[in-house]
Amino acid sequence: MLTDHERSHLEEHIARYPEKRAGAIYTLQFLQQKYGYLPDEALAEASGLCGLSVTQLDELATFYTLLLRRPAGRTVLRICDSIACHLAGAPALLAEAQRLTGAPLGGVSEDGSVTVMPHVCLGLCDQAPAALAGERELGKLDQAALGKLLASLKTVEEG
């Protein structure tokens, strides 16, 4: 549940746009930050704030790749597999990540620490292969660095 403070913060942000629905993306990002993904309850909370139905919000949440409708690990690791990273070994990194986490791409590791996904170009082509761990940018990854990263994510606490 949103607190009164969170609700008024969102209302203030939404009011900066000429139409409420323009604040929907920010609202969904905010709720995802809070819950880790966007459960049905989050869409219902956003609905009242943005003047959109839950179905309209679901249309947005399922279109935009950074919005998640399913539970994810505490950290979402997005490994770029566009051309520069593809050439620099992204396919092998994605395979290794699945082996180390024991979860398929998009799935949650058994300990809940991470969800690994392939992602489109992160604009880090000069540091290929690159990834985003949450919002943290990582470059020049190799299998050893990936192993260390995944091990360190196990200790990241919830929230």
């Binding site: 323009a22 279109f63 050439l87 489109v120 170009c121 992160l122």
Partner: protein, 422 residues
């Protein structure tokens, strides 16, 4: 060459307001606020400055198309949705010098007599968006953003809008839908955004690198700008090279620098004793160029004359040791994933092509597969709704033609001819 857009890139942290001002920052805004917008449009027209987001439309023509009599409210949108594979120049401007970005929006906003500005930033650049928001807060506090800017009577508020992913949102009409809180599917044109854009009001959408040049042109003049270029180019350009080179990176250089200089002098050429097999000159959605094109000056007209496109001029190099089919798959899978799904040729056609590419790579290609792929390319591009599918088809179709012998060898041998060769 004196760095212009990248003059603060040597700093370990992006400059705050005081440091930016100490280096001459916001002086161009003062100059602009004392001038007639029409005179500044004339100045920019003399430089021929074109859009650096990929399309290359002349900026002054865009301004004139909207006209000075357009109704209010008018919106200005800076497009920082850089997602083109091989393009990472806009990120540098956003992350390394946010006040330069703000000054660019303010000067352009005054020229356009805009009422409100949005900086639309891709969700993956969240850290850059935070830096920009901090800078906007500083600038607002100093009377540079908001009402009565520097006592001029001109008002312009500026909001940072962090998007939530999807390459297609960089297409200007898809961007407008995304900003309005809708799915980022492109809109049909006409009406053009300058007639009916955000919330039905006149809206001009510009790439960040394009706009960052405007304050410099206003304060130093078109002759100074034009004098920066070489080989028929004007001004400077944030060039980048990635892929199979020793030192991938970005450099601000005179517009018109040759591909040879970029790939060999700055990026060090292909690694491990490889030769250069080919390169994409303007990001992932452009046609291949070959070593014989290395002396092409990298500016819009010279690249267009080769049959390819300048695009964002994010060069992607392919070395002689890598299978071109693998390279094509690496390019194409991006477009398959990023199709917005709105029209059938793109939504269904691109994955079908991808399955054919993978079949050939897996050694299960059939004799007519190359022709089938070329036929699909010819049908998908002209029958899709927006420029996305043509952008996806361009590198693929050109690659299938340039590397036809490699594709045929895969089909005939039932295996990759590069495997085990190096």
């Amino acid at each position: 060459m004196e760095p212009v857009l990248s003059r603060n890139f040597h700093l370990s942290q992006p400059p705050g307001l005081a440091d930016y001002r100490a280096g001459g920052g916001y002086e161009a805004l003062k100059v602009a606020l004392g001038q007639d917008p029409e005179a500044m449009i004339e100045m920019v027209d003399k430089t021929g400055l074109r859009g650096y987001g990929g399309a290359g439309f002349p900026l002054a023509r865009k301004w004139r198309a909207r006209g000075s009599d357009a109704p209010h409210p008018r919106y200005l949108v800076m497009n920082v949705d850089e997602t083109e594979p091989g393009s990472f120049k806009d990120r540098q401007l956003l992350y390394r010098d946010p006040h330069q970005v703000i000054e660019a929006v303010l000067v352009t906003g005054f020229i356009e007599q805009a009422d409100h500005a949005y900086v639309f930033i891709r969700g993956e650049y969240a850290e850059g968006a935070r830096r920009l928001e901090q800078a906007v807060a500083e600038a607002r506090e100093a009377g540079l953003v908001g009402r009565n800017i520097l006592g001029s009577g001109f008002d312009l508020d500026l909001d940072v809008h962090l998007s939530a992913g999807r390459y297609i949102c960089g297409e200007e009409t898809a961007l407008l839908n995304a900003l309005e809180g809708r799915r980022g599917n492109p809109r049909s044109k006409p009406p053009m955004p300058f007639e009916k854009g955000l919330w039905g009001a006149p809206t001009l959408v510009h790439n960040i690198e394009t706009l960052c040049h405007v304050p410099h042109i206003v304060s130093r003049g078109p002759d100074w700008f034009n004098g920066q270029g070489v080989n028929g180019g004007h001004g400077t350009k944030l060039y980048s090279v990635c892929g199979e080179v020793k030192r991938p990176g970005f450099w601000e250089l005179p517009m018109g620098t040759t591909a040879r200089e970029l790939i060999y002098e700055h990026a060090g050429g292909p690694p491990n004793g490889q030769a250069l097999a080919a390169f994409l000159p303007g990001g992932a959605s452009t046609a291949f160029l070959l070593p014989e094109h290395l002396d092409t000056p990298m500016h819009f007209d010279a690249v267009a004359a080769t049959g390819s496109r300048f695009g964002t001029c994010g060069i992607i190099a392919l070395g002689s040791g890598t299978c071109p089919l693998d390279f094509l798959i690496g390019i194409h899978k991006f477009f398959v994933r990023e199709s917005c799904g709105f029209c059938t040729p793109c939504r269904d056609g691109l994955p079908y092509l991808h399955s054919l590419l993978e079949r050939v790579e897996a050694g299960q290609g059939r004799p007519g597969d190359l022709d089938l792929m070329l036929e699909l390319c010819a049908k998908i591009a002209p029958n899709s709704f927006c420029p996305f599918a043509p952008g996806a088809i361009t590198p693929l179709e050109s690659g299938l033609k340039v590397f036809a012998d490699v594709i045929q060898a895969h089909i005939e041998r039932g295996a990759c001819p590069y495997r085990g060769a190096h």
